[in-house]
Subunit: 367 residues, 2 copies
């Protein structure tokens, strides 16, 4: 533990990268106190000495962490996308990521799923009294680094403090604004019978990575979270497939089963998935086996599933494979008019199995 007045240093891992960081610890305290949430001098010190330096270049554009940031819109930005997500993942750091980069990727990806390019993010932090400032700095650094890598500023923020026992170290809310280009129209309403179902990567990594280090449940595995921003992958899909890209969803809470279920829940179509075509890493399959979990219901944070017109499917998959986050993109199924509202998995022997939307959650607080 670095003491007040010293400079904390360390490393933060996100995705497959590790970055060194350093941050001065304010002289008055080495842990969060209630006064850090009071809006006075201590609040100002927390923001100026810990959070803004940790956010780094992502927080430096415009006037970061003022009451409201001013953003200049790109020319001809007719439509905005707006999204929010709160992250309560436990523990705060896990193989392959932290709550910080997760909070950035989650909202960037929500924007990307309607075809938007992110313009700015907000950051709302709820700190629990007693949180080590060194850990806060590390997590805020992961946020800043992820935002910088995604090319989107952390334009505005807020920090609150709750008493010990009324939080869990840190909760992070991000909201995001994105710009939707002319002609882009992505959503469940565009799903059509005959559409090809594409999946960008193997499922189940994020949830298993978080579980593997959860207190009381630690198990040995080399599974790392897939947490990653997907907006550039979506751009590549749109470049290749244009208006043939009909529907996108990132299978987070509830996993692939929930995502597919939601995409067809309202609509006149159903979906049929080739069970053997859905990639699941061996280590994820093994962990799911001994935990009694279904990998299709496990959360992902760097994966998307989409419905695309059959005429552009090959081009879209080829474009996805050219990006690292889509390197193993593949076709996993087909949209059908045969069983509206239902997701059916086709087994290797040709039998059909109904894929239920999960009722609750196998894994609480996974994101």
């Amino acid at each position: 533990m670095t003491g007040p007045g010293e400079v904390a240093t360390g490393e933060v891992a996100t995705g497959d990268d590790v970055l060194a960081w350093s941050c001065p610890v304010p002289a008055r305290h080495d842990r969060v106190v209630m006064g850090h949430g009071g809006g006075g001098v201590l609040s100002g010190e927390l923001v100026e000495q810990i959070i803004l330096p940790a956010f780094g270049p992502a927080g430096a554009g415009g006037a970061p962490l003022t009451d409201a940031a001013l953003l200049t819109l790109p020319a001809a930005a007719g439509r905005l996308a707006f999204s929010t997500d709160t992250f309560v993942v436990r523990p705060l750091e896990f193989p392959g990521g932290t709550i910080g980069d997760l909070a950035v990727h989650g909202t960037v990806n929500d924007l990307a799923m309607v075809g938007a390019q992110p313009l700015a993010l907000s950051a709302g932090l709820v700190l629990e009294e007693g949180l080590a400032l060194e850990l806060l700095a590390r997590l805020a650094h992961a946020m800043g680094r992820a935002a910088h890598a995604a090319g989107v500023p952390l334009a505005t923020g807020d920090t609150k403090v709750v008493e010990r026992g009324h939080g869990d170290g840190l909760y992070v809310n991000t909201a995001g604004i994105g710009v939707v280009a002319e002609g882009v129209d992505i959503g469940p309403h565009r799903a059509q019978p005959g559409d090809v179902v594409v999946l960008s990567g193997p499922v189940g990594r994020h949830g298993i990575a978080v579980l593997s280090c959860r207190e009381g449940l630690e198990f040995g595995t080399d599974v790392r979270s897939d947490t990653a921003p997907l907006h550039r992958l979506v751009s590549a899909m749109l470049s290749a497939g244009g208006a043939g890209v009909h529907t996108l969803r990132d299978p987070t809470r509830g996993g692939l089963a929930a995502a597919l279920g939601e995409l067809v829940a309202a609509g006149p179509v159903g979906v049929e998935v080739e069970e053997a075509a859905v990639p699941v890493d061996d280590a994820v399959r093994a962990a799911c086996g001994f935990l009694g979990l279904d990998p299709w219901e496990i959360a992902n944070e760097g994966c998307l599933v989409g419905f695309v017109h059959p005429e552009v499917a090959d081009a879209v998959v080829a474009a996805m494979r050219e990006r690292p986050e889509g390197a193993v993109a593949t076709v996993v199924g087909r949209v059908t008019a045969d069983h509206p509202g239902l997701v059916v998995a086709r087994t290797p022997l040709g039998a059909g199995r109904l894929v239920d939307r999960p009722l609750g959650e196998q894994l609480p607080r996974i994101c």
Copy 2:
């Protein structure tokens, strides 16, 4: 307590109004369970059966509570304002308001302080396991009602659940997007010596109202929170004062003392306030007296302080007084080059007293 499958009804008070509401309680549960945060069927039921009906018309525009909402910009919207705030106020309901309307007004007001008209809000809810769904419905209804009254949709949202003992019933994050009209430029950088300091109403009401019903501290008072949206008041000020409206701030956490301190902290100017000119309601003064608190350091949620050019000050104050939330607007001081960075209160006898920025917080979790 209304049981599962019944229809809960009740009243919600916000500001000076009381509105009846009703909401079906889902058949499965009458309290929040971990599964409500799982992203599956239970999550969907919570949103569709409790939250969206409670949001009412404010949640009905566009596609509420999808991953990302699409917003159409007004023509010639060159600049956006973007802001976020998390609300952890304790208790969740207090005289004059609830965490729900507070969360709407807080972000609307942050946008208004840079001269923006609100376009859309997001809502990120962190629910604690065990929260009564009836209470959640009532608080969500207060949010929806406040948003509707402010004329701004709750365009997108997210709900997470944390285990009992890791929250405090409900935390609410709102983020907001606003549109800044051409030529509007409001901020501390525009403060000038000679500017007139205007205050929209009496200070200290919100903090005292919340304290008066806090567990272990209940005291009899008729003080009600001033929680209110201020964007229409700002519009009226801009109509009357144009580019002469230089700087605005809503004195929330840390109160008037912190707000004035922040406005001059960076700048080449200071501010001098006539102590006797700052309105404080008798009941607030009495409560502050026996609690040992300074009303200038108490949070407000429906009050603003501004620096305006002396040539437009009379017109701005007159315009403010025509609106209910500015009915007692008044001039309280003057911006000066004499003591840069400092706030000085002038007593009725002419003596000067330095007004410190509060260090921490007299009152934790007031918003």
